[in-house]
Each structure stands twice: as C-alpha cells, then as structure tokens.
C-alpha cells in the first residue's frame, strides 16, 4: 500500500509542473529549441501560421498515420534486406506485418510477434521506436486540439497538426525520453547495436542472449504509453527493467503525461480547478484498481494455500521476485490504466479478480489516465455525457465550460462509445464461436474466455497488453485485432475531433450561479459513476462469464 502511495505521490507531484509546461508547449510559449523547430518546418514545408479546422486537423492526422502505417508495413516485410539485422531475421508474414503495423500506428503496441525472433534491431529502432514517438505525439496533439475547443467563443480552428506534432515530440517526448534512457542505462539496461551475445551456461549448454538498443526504446515505450517491449517478457525482462528502481521509474514514466494532460487543460481554459477535477477522477479510478488488484493478489490463490505450496504473502505465480507483489500489481494496473500495455508480471497468472481489474480498467475506455492524449479526450467524452445526463437536473441546457452540449455532440459521443463496445464484445464473442478462436486459447473454461475477451479489449482500447496464454498470430486474430486497433483508435478519435470542432464553433457562455458546477467532489463522483455505468456496465455480462465465474469456481476448488 505504501508503494502505491509512493507511486501516486511521485506521479501527481510531477504532473502539476509538467502539465503547466505542456500547456505552454500547446500554446507555443516554449521556444528553447526554436531553431531546430523551424528547421523541421522548413524541411517538411510546413506553414506554421496556418490554422486548421477540425476536418483539416483530422485529415492531416489520418494521412500521416496512413503513410506511417504503410512505411512500417514495408519495413517489417522487408527487414531481412534492411540494415541492422545482425541475426538475419526473416521478413514478417503479411498478416503479422499488418497486425504489427496497425498496432504501432495506433499506439497500441499489441505484439503478436515474438520480438527476439521475429524482428530485427533495425526494425525495432526505425520502425517501432519511431512510431512510439509519432503515435504518442499524434494522440497528445489530438488532445491539445480538443482542449482548444473550450478556450474561446466561436473558434474556427483547432490548431495546426504538424506544428503540434513537432512541438510535442521536440519539447516533451524527446527530452524526457533521453534523460530516462540515460538513467536506465546507468541502472543496467543495454543500449547497443551489437548482435546477440552467445554464452555458456553453468550446465555447459550454450545460450543466445538477446540484446540491442533497449534503453531508449524502453523509455519511450513507457513515456508514450506504448508498451511494446524490446523483449517478449516486456518489462519483466531484466534488460528492460533491471531492478526495483527502474521499475519505479518506468511506472512513473508511463503515468506522468496522462496525469499532466488534465492539468494542461486547466491552464489552457484558465480554470485550473477544472483540470484538477478530471485528474482526480482519473486518479481515483486508478487507485481503486491498484488497491483492488493488490488485495486480490496479496490474498493469494486458495488452492495453493490449501495444498500448502503457497509462498507466504499472496499469489506469486507469474511475478518477478525482484519486484514483489505491490510493485508488480501497481505496474500492471498502471499500464492497463494508461493503455501502455507494458507488463512486468503476467496477468494470465493473476488470480481471477486480480486479472479482472486490468481488464475492467481497459473496458472503462482507458481513462485512468489512459493513453497519452487518448485518455484525456476519452475523459472529455465521458465528461460531456455526465454533464448532459445530470446537467439537466439544474434546470438548464447542459453546458461544459460554457459550451452547450447538444444533439450533435451526444450523437458523436455515443458513436464513439458504440464503436468501442462493438469491437470488444462482438470481436470476442465471435472469436469464441469459431474453431480458430477457441484453438488460440491456452486454457479452457472461464479462464479461456478471459484470455479472448482481454485480447479484444486490449486491442480495441489500444492498450496492447496481453493476458498471455493466447496464441495471437492466427489469421482471425491478426486481421481481427488489427482492425479493432485501427477502429478503436481512429473511429473514436475522429468523432472526438468532430465534437471538438462543433464545440469550438459555439459561443462560450459566461458562468453564473445557475451554471452546472463541473468541479469538486460531487462532480468527481458523478463522472466516475458515469464512466462506470455508461462505459463499463455493458461488459458486465461477459466479465461475469470470464473472471467473475472463475473467481467463484476457484474458491469452490476448481481451476483451469
């Protein structure tokens, strides 16, 4: 518990100054790398004074994502012929390359491939790491565009996507990543272009130890809530996450921007209390998740306890003894609460309730605090829905920060929620009827159901973490989950940008005593309630057949 409190204190403490700094980045007040920034604009032919409507902004974002999607697809297919491939790893199959390209373009970082064996160091750096920056920056840029919608009356423009992208990468992601990478190297992460090391084990056998440019990728993997590990074991691998200090650092990195964004928002709309309120709602959901998962894991597995094989102090299966239960559960819950998808322990081996927590956090729409950018704008969608449902109760047409919430916004917001629900439930439900889907499962019974549900949830919500136990490189899952990732990202983001465009154009009404208050504990409670009821309730039947059923079966002495 103390560990959870420590993580929260470090993250929230840093989020305030960082949020303020990020607001300055969005408002173009930060200029310490101005010559470099201008250089990029000149190089790319970007007119930084041009302002974009929401449509132009969305088109720019989509176009860039599309180009990078094909670029990455090409790199993955052709990696055999590309440099920095000391292991001579072959090109990916079309469907795996599609799945991986979709995964990294959408900031999901779902890994259906085995990193050590199916991707070269060069592809990791040029293909994946670049996308970890770009997809994260694109998400943050979209969030910045949404923030601008609330700043003034009758706005036509949401900003300039290219400028936002450049500034976010240059002033935010790169500096923090570099510092963090250095810290990781100091702590023992490798950062090299040398080929894998061959070693001899004590038993006399030989072993290949995979290494590569790990530290840099590790830093952006966490900071950009990407989650795609350099190694299959992800942050459970000693090269990715050598010790308890790096574990804490990585945990901090993956949360900090997500929590800083609402603070930036507060500065942008010149009402810091509004930002703090959103941050509080995010933090409370995450804290409940951390405490819940920790409690479930610390309670241990009743079967192990009964058999007398349990190590004292909870369920240790699938966890690194380097980190222990609190650090492991906090890390995994943080990673699912942020759409990072990195893991330092294996959710598949968690107790059913311990595994339900990360899954439910994703199903809630990744709002605690969610992926960089995407978490923020998803919270805004739920905020608008909360304001709309409960705002009528003060006797006025609902408004948020002076912008009236009307037909168009509700239509778009519901469309977004509908798309997420459709891909998660229809995807998992359909896969479980097909022989191919069932064949991918490592376990039977409700645990198998959880594996499949988790996969579709993780892909649609752009989380990317895996429950493990699922063989994901099948045609059904490669293409299906790939589509889920693309729709979960863009079919949600575009309605959100449309909402921003619609709200931006509206007059910003002055606040009065009759205005629905959107700060304070009451609104925080309301927002959490709406997130759970409108965002999570639809998954309850499926969750009941998965983790909940398993939980009660486990306590009745039945395991899968």
């Amino acid at each position: 518990m103390l560990y959870i409190a420590l993580v929260f204190a470090l993250v929230l403490g840093a989020a305030f100054p960082l949020g303020r700094y990020m607001a300055a980045i969005f408002e173009r007040r930060v200029t310490w790398l101005r010559p470099v920034e201008l250089g990029f604009y000149r190089l790319a032919g970007v007119d930084e004074t041009r302002s974009m409507t929401w449509q132009a902004y969305a088109v720019a974002l989509l176009l860039l994502s599309l180009i990078h999607f094909f670029l990455l697809y090409g790199i993955l297919r052709l990696q055999y012929y590309l440099p920095f491939n000391p292991q001579h790893i072959a090109g990916m199959s079309p469907r795996l390359a599609f799945n991986t390209a979709a995964s990294f373009t959408t900031n999901t970082n779902w890994q259906a491939y085995l990193p050590e064996g199916q991707i070269s160091n060069g592809a990791q750096m040029l293909g994946l790491a670049v996308h970890m920056f770009l997809s994260a920056a694109a998400g943050i840029a979209a969030a910045a565009a949404v923030m601008r919608a609330f700043t003034a009356s009758a706005l036509k423009s949401l900003g300039n996507f290219y400028v936002d992208l450049t500034r976010i990468t240059l002033y935010l992601l790169l500096p923090i990543t570099l510092v963090a990478a250095v810290l990781l190297v100091v702590a023992g992460c490798p950062q090299t272009l040398a080929p894998f090391i061959s070693g001899h084990t004590l038993q006399g056998g030989s072993q290949t130890i995979a290494i590569g440019p790990v530290a840099l990728q590790e830093a952006i993997k966490q900071l950009g809530t990407n989650g795609g590990g350099f190694f299959n074991a992800n942050s459970g691998h000693p090269f990715e996450n050598p010790n308890a200090w790096t574990n804490l650092l990585e945990n901090w990195l993956l949360l900090v921007i997500g929590f800083a964004l609402p603070i930036s928002f507060g500065h942008m709309v010149k009402e810091t209390a509004q930002g703090r309120t959103l941050m509080a709602a995010m933090a409370i959901i995450l804290a409940l998740g951390c405490v819940g998962a920790y409690a479930a894991e610390a309670a241990g597995n009743p079967l192990h306890t009964a058999a007398g094989v349990a190590r004292s102090g909870g369920n240790w299966e699938g966890k690194e003894v380097r980190f222990g239960i609190p650090a492991s559960t906090t890390f995994n819950v943080s990673a699912t609460g942020t759409s990072t998808g990195a893991v330092d322990s294996f959710t598949d081996s968690y107790t059913p309730l311990g595994g339900l927590v990360p899954m439910f956090l994703m199903q809630l729409g990744e709002v605690s605090p969610g992926g960089v950018g995407s978490g923020f704008y998803t919270v805004i969608v739920f905020t608008l829905l909360s304001v709309f449902v409960a705002g009528l109760m003060v006797g006025r047409t609902p408004e948020y920060l002076g912008k009236k919430v009307q037909e168009k916004e509700i239509k778009l917001a519901m469309l977004g929620v509908l798309i997420l629900t459709l891909f998660i439930l229809a995807g998992a439900g359909f896969s479980l009827i097909t022989a191919s889907g069932v064949g991918s499962l490592a376990n039977t019974g409700p645990h198998g159901l959880s594996e499949m549900l988790y996969a579709w949830t993780s892909a649609t919500e752009n989380n990317g973490s895996a429950f493990a136990g699922l063989s994901a490189d099948t045609p059904l899952l490669d293409y299906g989950l790939g589509a889920a990732m693309l729709f979960g990202r863009f079919a949600f983001m575009i309605p959100v940008l449309a909402i921003a465009g619609s709200l931006a154009a509206k007059p910003k009404l002055p606040e009065s005593a009759g205005t629905f208050p959107t700060t304070g504990p009451l609104f925080i409670g309301l927002l959490i309630g709406v997130i759970i009821i409108l965002g999570g309730l639809q998954f309850m039947p499926a969750d009941t057949l998965g983790p909940l059923a398993e939980h009660f079966l486990l306590h009745a002495g039945k395991a899968f």
Partner: protein, 671 residues
C-alpha cells in the same frame, strides 16, 4: 383538475392501446424497440404453446414486456388527456359562427352573412353586441367591450378600440356592448384559438432540441446494450450455456432505458400543460425549454416591479405649518381627483390623521390641466391646490426656501414625485408620491440571482428615478428612458455575450424586441403584432409571470434530467438480479452474486421485468407534476437531485425487485 381524474384515466387507457401502432411509436426509439422485443417474445411463447412445450415463463415475460410498452404509451396518453380537457373547452368557443361580412367597409348597413370558416385575411366584418367575434382580427373602427373568458377564463370584459395597443381581438370571444368593424387577420384554421387547441392537444408537438439529443443518448444506450446481449450468445456458447429468447429479451429490456424512454414525451407534454394551466400559451416546446435557459429577464417597471400607480407615501410640511394641516389640505385638494394618485392621497390622510373630508354640493373641482399643471378644489371661499413644485411656486410668486427646495430634490432623487400643496394661496408643504415596489419582489429577484439570472428593469423614467427604484427593488440593471430601440439594443448586447434573454411586452412597438428576445411573452391584451412576434402569449396579461415561466422551463428540464439519471442508475441492480439467474445453471457458484437472495432464476428475471414495467407507472405522477423546483442555485440543486434520483435510482430497485420476488413467492409463482 386532479391528477387522477377518472374520465382522463379511462380515455388514456384506451388511447394507450391505439398508441401501440408501430408507425406512430417509431417516434420513441426505446419504446419502439421494446415493442419489437415484446412481439418476438410473444412469438416464442405462442410457438411453445402450439408445440406443447412448457410455456409459462415465456408467456409471463411476454405479457410483462407488453405491459412495459403499454405503460409507456399510457404515460403519454395521460399527459395528452390533461391537455385535451382544456382543448375541449376551447373548442366549444370555436363553435360555428356566422360573420357579417361588409360589402363596403364604409357602409355598416349592408352586410352578407358568411360562415366564419369562409373568412379570409383582409375581409372586413361587422360585429355587434352579443355577437361572437368570428376570427382573429384588428379593430379598424369603433370602441366596444369584449368578454374574452373563452380564451382567458377571465369573465370581466375588456375594452377594445381602433388604433393603439388595444386593437387586437381574438376569434371565439364575445362582444358585450357597442359595435366594431374588424379586419380579419387570420385565415380559418390558423387562428389563435386553433393554434392553442393544437398545442394543448399535443397534435403539433415537435420534439425540442434537448429532447432530440436525449433521445439520441437513449437510442445509443439501447444499441450498446443490444450489442452486449447479442454477443452474450457467443460467450454463452463457449461457456456451454444457451439462453432462451425470453431470457435475453428480459435482460435487454431491463437494461435499456425504458423508464425515461417511456416518460420522455409525457414530461414534455406536461411541461406545456403546466404553462397552459398557468394561462400562458407557448407557440413551441422550444420556447419552454429556452425559458429554463434564460440568463436575463427584462421586466417592465410599471405593473411588474412596482404597482402601476404612484402612491402618496409621506407629507413634508414647510416650517411653521403643522403636518396635520398639510394632510388636510392635501385631502381637500384631492377630493375631486379620481386618479389612483388622488385616491392614494385620501387614503394616506385617513390612515395617518383619520381625515375623511366630505365633498359639499357647492364645491368646485379644479381639474388638472397641462397648462397650470395643478388641480384642486374651491369651496366656501377656500381654495386648495396641489401640483408640480415649480408650477405651484410660480403661480404663488414665492420662493419655497432652502429647506423646501432640499426636500423636493431629495424626494426626486429617491425616485418619487414631489407635489407642492397650498391652501388659500399659502404654501403648506410637499406630498411625496412614490412608486411602490411590490412586496416580496426583492426576495424573488434575489432567488433569481441565486439561479444565475440577471433581472433588468425597463422604465421610461429618467436615470435618477430609475436608479433609485432599481436599487429599492434589487434588480441587477435597468434601462432608463427606455425606447423600443434601446430595448432592442440592450437585448442584442446581452445576447452578444452569449446570454439568453426573456422579456414581455404588449405594444406594437415592442414587437421587434419581442421577436429578438429568446423568450418573448406577449400580453393577450396586446396588439396582434406583439402577439405574432412573441413565442408565448400570456392570457392574463400579467407581466410578473415571466418569473414563473422561467421556473416552469427549469422544472421541465430538471424533471427530464432527474428521471434520466434515475433510469440509468437502475441498471446496476438489474445486473445483480438477472446475471446470476441466467448463468447459474452453468456456474452454480455464481449464485454468490445473487445478493438480493431472489428465490429462483425464473422469479429473479420476472421480478426485474415487473419492476422495470411498474416503475414507469409509479413515476407517471412525477413526470406529469414535475420535480419541484427550488431556487437555491445550481450547486445545491445538483447535490440534492443527484442524491435523490442518482443514489435513489441506484438503491430503490434493489428493494423493489426483492419485494416483487417475495410477493411472487407468496403466490408460489416460479418457486
């Protein structure tokens, strides 16, 4: 009219059946969807009966699903029924009348009897005492008194005359005296009365913007839960569970927001109805909704903030004169003054000094003239005068002295009017005629302020007077020396800040401002132009009502929000009732989720469905009456309503479903 009038309920019960027609029900997506599910479940039940399968459970579920739909249509029918009662009385006024169509407008002797329904705009007709006015019209000649009780419910006749602000007459009202020549202003079928009937019957009801948005939210939720229930088939298939259609139907209908979906249109109709009951007719639901959003009220000073007339409030004797003598002189000077001001002076003298002067036969009344600006009374060689201070002083040829001048100025500053009073050519002092602010109005404005609504006083007075009265009444702002143009400018300015403005007016020159305002309430006594420009008409012509109109608008929105919150919060408990019930065959251990300890799976599902249906009926009175509005400010209001309807909505169904399950147990149903 009581909420549960027997005749209305009987009629509503019949109407609710007619409303099951899917074509009309399509306007309400949630309930339409429920109807489809009910039909599907019925089909399954019939199939089971025909195939001699056990049919008890599907049949009961089908019946209760149909009842859910029926209760929703009943709620709407109830709301309409209450409006219809009002419409019936209006229709009686529209009974077929014969109009005297003038062939030559200048000659009142020759007319052609024409049915009112054949009249067109621009026709000139004659009405005589006792005639029913055939259609909406403007008086072009004559003065007469008209009984407008058919429209307003007020039986005291009102004067209508050509020109000015009292030239509009309404079809269906009756001429009590004299005659009028009218120019018809509305074609048959589109008169004020016709529109009113259509509005209160709900026939012309169009969904308001907010209602449309809410419907989209509800339809979206319905789709989301549809996905959740359909995909459950896949999850069930994997888990080795198959669900029957009635079970899935029950789960789905319980999860979709049927409560608010069923009551939504009733809430809207009831809101309009509350206005009608208040003798205000809105031309659209949009206007009622806008009334709830209003941020600024433009209120006429006279009649709304102050009593229409100035009233004597104090005597100020000059040095050397007794106050009682002054009071007596005032009373005598006003003896022949029949204006409200004059009567108020007599009343004050009687109240303060018990002076009740008698008017003798020989007394001569000197009426007020614009020339002298004085009035008074001469009798038995005595003369008493009161009048404008400067005129009186000039006529006497004296200076009032410093104290007198100072008193006069002070009275003027306070927003009152000083009158100088003389007896036999000697200056006795001043009387203050005050614009009396209505008691309680200041508190109402304070309540408005706590709701975030600014009150703005509109007056023709000069700035000094206006400022004084504005301060006394506690308004937030005022428009002094108001003209139609500066009223319009003010409204545009406030709207430019993004605020919504409500105002009321009656004259033709108010029409532009009424049209510009977001909520424009025209007085029924006003001109046709004003009535056309506004989006509400107050049949009582009481400008104070603007405040109540705002409250009714807010109440409408609050009721909608409260029931939406309640409906959505209900879902949690239904999961706890239904999910363990449908999964328990596959995973008996899931009965741990049956926190309500419902007896059997069938009983649990049925109890949830019954609760879901009955809650609609239980909330009909609330939907019709509206959630009580409290002017306490948004934060306090939200706290209260969230507690009652949010938390209440979370908890209430747990108790309700448990009780229904126990009741079913008493009768051994599904045990």
């Amino acid at each position: 009219m009581s909420l549960f009038d027997g005749a209305i309920i009987r009629r509503a019960a019949l109407d609710s059946l007619a409303k099951l027609n899917p074509v009309t029900l399509m306007r309400n997506p949630v309930i339409f969807f429920t109807e489809i599910i009910s039909a599907l479940t019925s089909f399954v039940a019939v199939e089971d009966i025909v195939q001699h399968q056990p049919y008890g459970f599907p049949l009961v579920i089908a019946i209760w699903l149909w009842l859910t739909v029926l209760f929703a249509t009943f709620a709407e029918a109830m709301a309409e029924g209450r409006g219809r009662a009002r419409a019936e009385s209006l229709k009686r006024a529209r009974s077929e009348t014969m109009a005297k169509l003038l062939v030559d407008p200048r000659d009142r002797a020759i007319f052609k009897l024409t049915p009112a329904s054949d009249l067109c705009q621009g026709d000139i007709v004659l009405v005589k005492a006792g005639d029913i006015i055939p259609s909406d019209a403007e008086v072009i000649e004559g003065v007469a008194s008209v009984n407008e009780s058919a429209v307003t419910g007020e039986s005291a006749p009102v004067v209508r005359e050509a020109g000015g602000d009292r030239s509009a007459v309404t079809g269906g009202t009756q001429l009590v005296s004299d005659w009028l020549v009218l120019r018809i202003t509305a074609d048959a079928g589109s008169t004020f009365l016709d529109r009113m009937i259509a509005l209160v019957e709900g026939a012309e009801r169009r969904k308001t913007p907010n209602e449309i948005a809410l419907n989209i939210l509800l339809a979206g939720l319905t789709l989301i839960f549809l996905i959740a229930v359909i995909t459950l088939v896949g999850f069930g298939h994997y888990s080795g569970t198959s669900f029957s259609i009635p079970v899935l139907a029950a789960l789905l209908v319980c999860l979709i927001p049927t409560t608010i979906g069923g009551l939504l249109s009733a809430i809207g109709i009831a809101g309009m109805d509350r206005l009608v009951r208040f003798n205000v007719v809105a031309t659209s639901g949009r206007a009622v909704e806008a009334a709830g959003d209003v941020d600024a009220l433009l209120l006429d000073k006279t009649g709304t903030i102050t009593f229409g007339n100035r009233m004597a409030s104090a005597f100020f004797p000059v040095s050397g004169a007794a106050e009682r003598d002054l009071a007596e002189a005032c009373a005598l000077a006003s003896l022949g003054d029949d204006t409200p001001e004059g009567r108020s002076i007599l009343a004050l003298a009687r109240e303060r000094y018990n002076i009740v002067p008698q008017r003798s036969e020989s007394a001569t009344v000197i009426p007020f003239s614009a020339n002298t600006r004085m009035s008074g009374l001469d009798f038995a060689g005595q003369s008493y005068r009161k009048g404008a201070v400067d005129s009186v002083l000039k006529s006497l040829g004296v200076e009032g002295g410093a104290a007198f001048a100072e008193a006069a100025t002070r009275i003027g500053r306070a927003g009152s009017t000083p009158l100088a009073v003389t007896a036999n050519g000697k200056l006795l002092g001043l009387i203050e005629l005050k614009d009396i602010v209505k008691p309680g109005i200041k508190e109402r404005f304070a309540a408005m302020r706590s709701m975030g609504i600014r009150t703005v006083m509109v007056t023709g007075d000069n700035r000094i007077t206006a400022a004084a009265i504005a301060a006394e009444a506690g308004v937030d702002d005022y428009i002094a020396e108001a003209t139609p143009q500066n009223k319009l400018d003010y409204i545009r300015m406030v709207q430019g800040e993004g605020r919504l403005v409500a105002m009321c007016g009656d004259g033709t020159n108010d029409a532009p401002a009424l049209a510009q305002a977001d909520v424009g309430v025209a007085m029924q006594t006003g001109t046709q132009a004003a009535r056309e420009a506004g989006n509400m008409v107050d049949l009582d012509s009481d400008p104070t009502k603007l405040i109540e109109i705002v409250e009714i608008g807010k109440q409408l929105l609050i009721t909608r929000g409260a029931l939406t919150t309640f409906s959505i919060a209900n879902d949690i408990s239904k999961y706890f009732a239904i999910l363990p019930a449908i999964f328990v065959i596959t995973y008996p251990q899931l009965s741990a989720l049956n926190v309500m300890h419902l007896r059997t799976p069938e009983s649990a599902i049925l109890s949830a469905v019954i609760f879901n249906a009955l809650i609609i009926v239980a909330l009909v009175p609330l939907a019709l009456r509206g959630v009580k509005f409290r002017p306490v400010g948004a934060a306090a209001l939200l706290k209260r309503n969230l507690l009652v309807y949010g938390l209440g909505g979370l908890v209430a169904p747990f108790a309700g479903i448990k009780l229904i399950d126990m009741a079913l147990g008493v009768f051994n149903i599904f045990s």
